[in-house]
Symmetry: C2
Subunit: 297 residues, 2 copies
């Protein structure tokens, strides 16, 4: 199914934005405002980001899904998107409502698996409530990473080799539902992303990676981000933004490589500007891309 | 080939112990002393551990293999073992001798791959010099991890599930020549070992892992160590010891699981004693082991 055909079938009705960390939920709320699309920001467990002040919000508790779905149905929200990372909650069993208890036999085991299983289960729960789950990039198409080198900084042959190895490692890790990223420098894997996410991985590289770049003048390494093979692209696509580029710079890396069309860039212009400011490259790599012949050696 | 037949074919002549970090080279030197086997400790690049003082040593430089092999041949050392982790050297090209220059076209690209490729190449170089490369466990058979639970602390069903997932992840990581270990708690992967090794991984878990154990009363997580699938078992078998158990305890883990017969335990008695002291479990898991029926739930 082509992208256009896919779009036509998408629910463009009132949108519930389940808000996690970072800029993504704000960007989606702004897109709804631009398009006069009705929306509500769903905030779980006391989460109250500054950007949401003054916007239509629904405070929700993990233990009380019945109340949340009632409010969403009443408001006519037939469409939902999950935006931004959310930590697994420390659940308070005494607060469980009847719907949570009904969902618990499915939901609790799923929460003990990786992110992917958890999110599939949560997606299925919203669908069983008659809501359509859409990806953030279905709401705001320009979020998906474009193909090609986006920055003033270009890539060496060794950078391209690091990207190939980093994509292999990140995909293998994704296949096991471990994470969506890896860092490779001069052929050596300096980190594999786990549940703590990209920022924690890059701090680890900043603290431990220096001794493992054999040639001080050669490639400084690449942060690679790819979606999990076979993952539901409506939820949990990996994302980057200006802060990711800053963290990559602090880790001493040469640049950031993402799968073109498979990673969200939260603020493409700002992300490219930050990369140019810091001298890093940013590249979107297609599935079948090979390093361009003109890569610097 | 059975273990006994394998042993008979092994070179038991004068042994060169190429010494890296940790206790392993010392344990092998002690074993040679016990058996009146001639040996020499090869120390690269100014490495001068306290335990080697007074023992027969050969100082070597990465850039000057010709000199080292000449000394080894002259001393009659027909057998070599690589013991303990060694960091990739920062090479000084101006010091390269003729043999290094001859080896460089093979060796330098290999050093830009993972550990496994590097070590295979170094092994081949020693073999081409007429030396037999043997594993540390060929010198000291009791190094290999035994099967079964070794400690007072036993395993819960969730610990066994964490071990299964940790082994899957560590093996996948090994297949890509990334590392030989992983940490899993309550089904969630908290870390995948990369070039920095087990201690760095466990520090990362100590610093970042707490928020990701959903149920504060459930399984605290397991350090899993396995050899790389298809790796040359004569070199770079993963190893643990009392310090590994201490680091696992600092990371808040419930225990350590190693592949029985596939991981070196440097000081089994001391390692078990340390685990018992800290309340951790230590288990050697066979390839086809399933959790015992009596596992606590």
């Amino acid at each position: 199914m082509g992208a256009a055909a896919h779009s036509e079938l998408l629910n463009t009705g009132p949108l519930a934005i389940v808000a996690g960390d970072g800029d993504l939920p704000r960007l989606l709320a702004e897109e709804c405002q631009r398009n006069d699309r009705a929306y509500i920001v769903v905030l779980f467990a006391g989460f109250a980001p500054d950007w949401a002040v003054g916007l239509p919000c629904l405070k929700a508790e993990f233990e009380k899904p019945a109340r949340m779905f009632k409010a969403l149905h009443k408001g006519g929200f037939t469409c939902v998107t999950f935006a931004g990372a959310m930590q697994r909650p420390h659940l308070r069993p005494l607060k469980f409502d009847w719907k949570f208890l009904k969902l618990a036999p499915t939901l609790l085991p799923a929460m003990k698996s990786g992110d992917d299983v958890t999110l599939r289960t949560i997606t299925a729960i919203f669908e069983s409530e008659g809501m359509q789950v859409v990806g953030a990039h279905d709401v705001l198409e320009t979020l998906l990473a474009p193909s090609g080198v986006q920055t003033v900084a270009k890539l060496s042959k060794m950078d391209w080799a690091d990207i190939k190895r980093g994509f292999d490692i990140a995909q293998a890790s994704g296949r096991l539902d471990v994470g969506q990223g890896a860092v490779v420098a001069q052929g050596i894997c300096l980190a594999v992303e786990s549940i703590q996410g990209t920022d924690a991985m890059l701090r680890f590289v900043a603290e431990t990676g220096d001794a493992y770049r054999l040639d001080p003048k050669a490639a400084r390494g690449v942060l690679c981000k790819v979606p999990k093979p076979g993952q539901d692209w409506r939820v949990d696509l990996p994302s980057i933004g200006p802060a990711t580029v800053e963290a990559a710079a602090r880790a001493g890396l040469a640049g950031v490589a993402v799968q073109a069309g498979g990673v969200l860039v939260l603020g493409l212009e700002q992300t490219i500007a930050k990369a140019d400011e810091l001298g890093l490259f940013l590249v979107g790599v297609g599935r079948d891309d090979t390093p361009p012949a003109e890569a610097e050696s």
